[in-house]
Symmetry: C2
């Protein structure tokens, strides 16, 4: 294993310190317990807080800022944050209108956010994301995994919260987006957890893992490596099948997110996007919004995921609204 690190024990602290320094105009980090907040705390709105294991950067700390999260609680690599982190973050950013947790559906995250919620002295609610259509139940999951679609939930719910919407409305929007979003990932290589020092799984030069999780969890099956168009066709088919299973409309405008898992060149991500957009159009969906890049990673995995979110006026408006975070930034 070759990584840029000093002591595995201090990797998260050193990296978060660098992150907070590089983006000191936007965010602040606190340690013991560890959480990231906006530099300019918001007033009189629902506080939106997310978190989870590190190793998925820029998720979640990269999405703290105006129009998106109020705080993020990073755990160690692929390890849930602990309830004291969520409690301290909530204490720091609560602005009189309650707290909404956005939590990817993994057993450790669910348990720790639930424990935090029980102790929380504020009105609160939780949105669980479960957009990964690859498998039902997985290594760390009862039910479907939350993956790259989480970014769409965080962006749009963050936008709604800025308008002064109440806790119930924020939760409703988050659950609607999760329901209208499907993702599937594919790995060409494993990731390597720094503390483990070796690849999470073995895979040969002629194989791919279809439906891989963002922690290197097994997907649907080990397949033979083949040309990109054939891989993308299977991924798009899985998403379209999932839309059908969810009884979503068989046509409409979508947001298409092609997400790199850490070690995949942008040139390849755009090639994947090109095929995915064409196939989705052929199936009746119109790609109205796009995002291509590394947004929810699996450390250093070579691989990519495709996410489609079926838009409506509401979701589109909140996706388009201004956002000003380290990792997503645009104006109207």
């Amino acid at each position: 294993m070759k990584k840029f690190l000093n002591d595995v024990e201090h990797m998260l602290t050193e990296s978060l310190t660098g992150f907070a320094t590089a983006h000191s105009d936007l965010v602040e980090v606190q340690f013991d317990p560890t959480f990231v907040t906006r530099k300019q705390k918001a007033q009189n709105k629902v506080a939106i807080i997310s978190g989870g294991g590190s190793g998925h950067e820029p998720l979640h700390a990269g999405y703290v800022g105006a129009g998106m999260l109020d705080a993020a609680c990073p755990g160690q690599v692929f390890t849930s944050p602990t309830p004291d982190q969520m409690l301290a973050a909530a204490e720091a950013v609560h602005a009189g209108q309650g707290v909404l947790f956005i939590v990817k559906n993994y057993a450790g995250d669910v348990m720790n956010f639930e424990m935090a919620a029980e102790m929380l002295p504020f009105e609160h609610a939780t949105v669980y994301t479960s957009d990964d259509c690859a498998v039902i139940n997985s290594t760390y999951t009862t039910g479907r995994r939350g993956v790259a679609g989480t970014v769409i939930v965080e962006k749009c719910v963050g936008s709604l919260a800025e308008t002064g919407a109440d806790l119930a409305a924020c939760k409703t929007l988050g659950e609607k987006i999760n329901q209208r979003t499907s993702s599937i990932g594919v790995a060409l290589t494993s990731c390597t957890v720094p503390a483990a020092g070796r690849p999470t799984f073995e895979i040969t030069d002629t194989e791919l893992e279809m439906g891989v999780g963002i922690h290197g969890e097994p997907g649907r099956r080990r397949e033979t490596m083949r040309e990109a168009d054939a891989i993308v066709a299977d991924m798009v088919a899985a998403i379209v099948h999932d839309f059908k299973a969810k009884q979503l409309p068989a046509q409409g405008e979508i947001l298409l997110l092609v997400n790199g898992l850490g070690a995949t060149p942008l040139m390849e991500l755009y090639l994947i996007y090109n095929t995915a957009a064409r196939l989705l159009q052929e199936k009746g969906f119109s790609v109205a919004r796009s995002l291509v890049g590394n947004y929810v990673t699996a450390i250093d995995m070579a691989g990519a995921s495709i996410t489609a979110c079926l838009l409506d006026n509401d979701i589109r408006r909140h996706w388009d609204s201004p956002v000003h975070t380290p990792a997503l930034r645009w104006d109207m």
Copy 2:
């Protein structure tokens, strides 16, 4: 070699088509000859055009847009674009005030941009970037290589051009920034050129290549892998030494760019940034602006580069000005 591709021959076309579709609000692509322009062409300003081999994404096409480039000419992977591309791009974006080429100093790029310049029916000038302080002369280079500092030149010269500044002023600013900018890269793994199908160089699990080029060219020396702080200390020392060799002030405000070469997790880049910022502060430089991420890549290389640009009021103002491109986007 496992990559997301269909036919190597069509990889660039498919990827650029995806890029142009994903960012159809900002850019347009033309083929035969191949170039990328802004969707909304600028009026009455110097046209800023860059280009070079592909494989360094988001450079250069990702920087086409308001406040930065007017056009980019992508060659095949690690291969210079041809003069007909630059001529067609210039024809498409020339707005009556002349054309400035921004060219990374590699023999093929220099030759092809020079040939295009000779044939250009417009007033023109060229800025060559050569920020890489690792080596003098290299595999594809007479003189120093142009690497990640090119992004700073493109951003700031693009900003100046938007103000209506003339060709000579744009060239002067570009050359000033290049003079005040030093970079050095390090590789933990090789890149793999798709058409070659195998790693460009061999490197073991206990080695790193200090001073590597963005095409996998040899650096200063093969070294033993060690902790991040020791690697970063050597990189920072090389930059500070280069500042001295260029007779730049030994203190002042800098822009610090920590750039991933393709396969390095953001978590590690922020860790590198943390150490580099601390060491540069200790040496008398104040980190006033920061950029951390994959901005000038070497396909799928695990590695990173550090770039420092000594700011002045002029450079800082043009760095801060609004930019609206696929890969860099901010408002004042």
